[in-house]
């Protein structure tokens, strides 16, 4: 093996090399046959994670603060972290099949049958399978054009009517996506897939309330997040970068090469004049550079805030991405195919689709320097190579690993574990299932210090409460409303940071009151469209009731404090409804 270069240098070289000669980069990353041979000789590479008997070597970073989790606690723990909590009887089923076997299945979502959820989605949520062109045609129909130059009163009234209809359709397509998210989170058998997709939904956050993202987000969920969450990070990152939802949410779609001194002078010259030449009019319309995406790509999607990059890098990277936009194009056209058809922004041809488009006319072809690497000229490839380099950057490995450990273990994961997971990320070049596996099969994952120490986010709380009761949901408006009150609208985080998953972000005074109210409404069957089964609400003698419901809602047991306080209440002979709501609203059920 050649003398190892520090990863950072390797990456910078990678950017550089990609520009000069793409083949050279591959060598840096150890992908040639020769490299691989050497790696095999040294016993490294793909087999590195296995011991002599072919069993996975478990990453281990710290000591268990003990006492070790009981089997039942282990089953509950994996259901809390690799699923959105246990459904009725699920802890018993996991114990029966073995905690580890259940985890293995979950790591391979395709191995789990999911017909019920898939059928429901196909029948009730058609927008999820639509292309973006079709979404526009279905949910944003064209206005009837005015006949004359100034609209008549009737035309104006028709326009207002059409606008109301369009607004309603826009709300429909947005609500359908959120309903799909809830439905899968509650009922999918592939729970870990949902847990992981929820992670990426916030990591690559887009807000469906932001302009046209309303029409892109459904496609994004299906074709970006679901398609790549169990693939390579690089592919996931690339798909986000080229999707209209991200291009518009972070304004890259309108980012254009900045005007030169000469062009500015031209605009100045024609200011307040009539007969402005066409070329100058085009310049006047040119909006200039928008740094929004370039910054968030480094800050939020890959390197982490203020690591390695400076403001200059942001501006330079924004120049790299000028011209990355989206528009109407012939159906089934590949993202990178040449598209010369000009269609403007109309729904136009029934066959047309909507998607990524590289607009060479507004792309900045000048040389750039990004993270110390010189990039010659311009072109679409330049952006692609930078994204690849960022996906492989050591800080990206660290940043993604840290966030995943925080999400799956605890708010402040140990540095040692983060470092171990980052190694796996780097070794596998961001093979995400390998990274997930390394985390959940680390020794640390089932340590006492990670058990029930995470505060559920509003989303996790609401979904896990519905799951715990085994309720049947036929509509999700009330869940939407509850999450909105709790401040965590699905697909509605206005910040590109996405919703945070730490206690610090959610544990404000007031927030618990909403959860108690939700618990009472759920247990009392007062949420429209959500039915808790009658059997669960059958009244029993107080002791039995407590035992039965606690076993279902908090299968790892109650804290002694909660248990004692509930015992004090038993003399009043609480109804099943009261008992259920107290359990769902208890501090214990806020923990996972």
């Amino acid at each position: 093996m050649p003398k190892r270069l520090p990863m950072l240098t390797t990456c910078l070289l990678a950017v550089l090399a990609l520009v000069i000669a793409p083949a050279a980069v591959v060598a840096q990353l150890g992908d040639t046959e020769e490299e691989q041979q050497r790696i095999r000789e040294l016993g490294l590479g793909a087999k590195q994670g296995l011991d002599s008997e072919g069993n996975a070597i478990r990453v281990s970073a710290e000591e268990d603060s003990g006492p070790p989790l009981t089997e039942r606690e282990r089953a509950t723990h994996v259901l809390n972290r690799m699923a959105f909590g246990a459904r009725p009887g699920q802890v018993e089923r996991v114990l029966e099949m073995g905690v580890e076997n259940w985890m293995r299945d979950q790591l391979d979502p395709e191995s789990i049958d999911n017909v019920y959820v898939d059928t429901h989605l196909a029948e009730h949520m058609p927008s999820l399978n639509m292309g973006m062109g079709e979404i526009f045609r279905t949910y944003r129909p064209e206005y009837t054009p005015y006949k004359g130059k100034t609209p008549t009163k009737a035309e104006r009234e028709l326009r207002q009517q059409e606008q109301r209809e369009r607004n309603q359709l826009r709300r429909d397509v947005q609500a359908e996506l959120r309903a799909a998210v809830y439905h899968r989170a509650i009922y999918s058998g592939r729970q870990f897939e949902e847990v992981i997709i929820a992670f990426w939904r916030d990591h690559f956050s887009v807000d469906q309330n932001s302009n046209d993202v309303a029409y892109f987000a459904n496609h994004w969920e299906e074709n970006v997040l679901r398609e790549h969450a169990f693939g390579d990070f690089e592919d996931l990152l690339m798909a986000t970068a080229r999707h209209p939802a991200m291009l518009f949410f972070l304004d890259n779609a309108v980012s254009q090469k900045p005007l030169t001194e000469r062009e500015l002078a031209l605009i100045e010259k024609y200011e307040n004049r009539d007969n402005v030449p066409r070329s100058v009019r085009a310049l006047q319309r040119q909006r200039g550079l928008n740094e929004n995406y370039a910054r968030e790509l480094m800050e939020l999607h890959t390197l982490g805030v203020d690591r390695e990059y400076k403001q200059r890098d942001v501006t330079e990277l924004a120049r790299v991405f000028t011209g990355w936009t989206a528009r109407w194009r012939p159906r089934n056209m590949q993202d990178n195919a040449r598209n010369d058809r000009r269609r403007g922004n109309s729904n136009a041809d029934q066959q047309d689709d909507y998607g990524f488009y590289f607009n060479a006319g507004v792309h900045d072809t000048g040389n750039k320097v990004v993270l110390g690497s010189r990039l010659r000229g311009g072109g679409e490839e330049q952006g692609i190579s930078v994204i690849r380099a960022l996906a492989k950057h050591k800080y990206t490995a660290d940043f993604i690993s840290r966030k995943l450990c925080r999400y799956l273990l605890r708010d402040e994961p140990s540095e040692a574990l983060v470092a171990e997971i980052a190694k796996v990320f780097k070794r596998t070049k961001g093979d995400l299932p390998e990274v997930y596996e390394a985390i959940v099969f680390s020794e640390d994952f089932l340590y006492r210090q990670n058990h029930r120490v995470k505060f559920k986010t509003p989303f996790e709380y609401v979904v896990s409460a519905v799951r715990a009761t085994g309720a049947e949901a036929t509509s999700y408006g009330q869940i939407d409303q509850a999450l909105s009150l709790m401040g965590q609208k699905t697909y509605g985080c206005p910040d590109p940071t996405g919703w945070y998953d730490t206690a610090e972000a959610w544990l404000d005074p007031g927030v618990l009151v909403y959860r108690w109210t939700f618990a009472m409404d759920l247990a009392g069957n007062r949420l429209k469209g959500i039915r808790v089964p009658e059997a669960l609400l059958a009244n029993l003698p107080a002791e039995e009731l407590k035992k039965k419901l606690a076993n279902q809602v908090l299968p790892a047991g109650l804290s002694e404090r909660t248990s004692t306080i509930i015992d004090e209440e038993l003399g009043r002979n609480p109804s099943a409804q009261e008992m259920l709501s107290i359990l769902l609203g208890s501090p214990d059920f806020q923990q996972q």
């Binding site: 070790p68 932001s210 006492r448 058990h451 206005p494 404000d508 618990l512 209440e569 806020q590």
Partner: protein, 453 residues
Amino acid sequence: MSPTRRQFLAGSSAFMGAAALGLNTRALAQALREQGHPPTLVTIYLRGGADPLNAIVPAGDPEYYNVRPTIAIPAKSDDANNPAVIPLTNLFGLHPSLDPLHKLYEGKRLGAIMCTGSTHPTRSHFDAQDFMERAAPGVKSVTEGWLNRYLTATSSNHDRPLRAVSLQPTLPRSLRGQYPVLAVPTGNADRAMNAFERLYSCDDNAEAFRRNAGGDKPAEQDNAPADDGPRLSGGPAVKPVDKPEDDLNEKLVEKGEESIEKLRHLRGIVRGQGNAKYPNSHLARQLADTAKVIKAGEGLVVAALDYGGWDHHAYQGGSTGTMANMLGTLAQAMRAFHDDLGSHMDKTLVLVMSEFGRTVRENGNNGSDHGHGGFMLAMGGMVKGGNVYGKWTGLERRRLYQNRDLPVHVDFRVVFAEALHALFGFETDKTDFFPEYKANDQPVRYLTPMAAG
């Protein structure tokens, strides 16, 4: 209502401790100032980018009628009897729907600021609101709201429970941050609070219970699966210390108790007072409750409210229509609040703002698009009212920002800084309150500072 015993003890011991050591006297002085009826800042955020030119109308600028052929507010009542602009100065007039505020303007308790806004060019609602509510244009690393930062910077151990509130379900971004601020649940919260009071109370029994539980608990490793074996060396005498999960459990109980206390307190205040006359709107109800907290002398320092829906890209209307109705709702609610507060209004400042203005020229849909410079309203006893502040450079195309929008002549940070200074004596420049900002802008001087003390 008296604070609970526990809070009182915690507060007073911290007070005495700090006093004895002579520490943090500034925070103490701050806390003392906030006893009784401190000055209160109330912000109303018009979300969506409210149109300045159809609120504070430059009817004296003939260009106004050229650029807005269908949505201009007529200078004189026209044939169709559309209400006309209410003149304020030679240049400006109020939108007729703002009539309830006219008297306050004349009484010098209301002023407007034109061409104010962000130094950042963004026309994205999301960025512009963020930058403004965090008072940090272009600085995305700042995630706490400016009002929250103020509360943190001036907090002490004996802050009153209702030092800041937002009487709506979620906190506006200006109030988000590390300082805990109550956003009030809607609906019947009493039911939930009564049901969960016991489970979320850090009472003495629970304390005692926790102490006992620590000692009496049987060694938990009895429950551990045998095959795992003991992890810790030293044999069976492993005494289970607190489980890590208990820390979070305890914290949850504390937060729950805090929620109940604050909310009950608030609801007590709100219920305990008669209802003043307010119009029937959501905004008015929020302001009515805010007024009750102020009048009760609960030490309310900051309240923030949202009024959404100002993104009038199409059919915004002129002296009647969509925007006119919303301006009416705003003005009526503000006027009711003003009249309800009476002398308390001397120490209350209401600041009305929006993320940006709109295009000077109306668009093809009888509306206006996202612009740049906007307007603010300031109402209160310390406002040097009867004035339209801000530099006016006209509506000629070449005078506009990027040839299309009102320019920003008054950085919103200047307005905020003067508010914090006039109300609370807080000096933003000395505390580096605004990140990456050098305060060398022209002052607006729209407020008379409250007497120190």
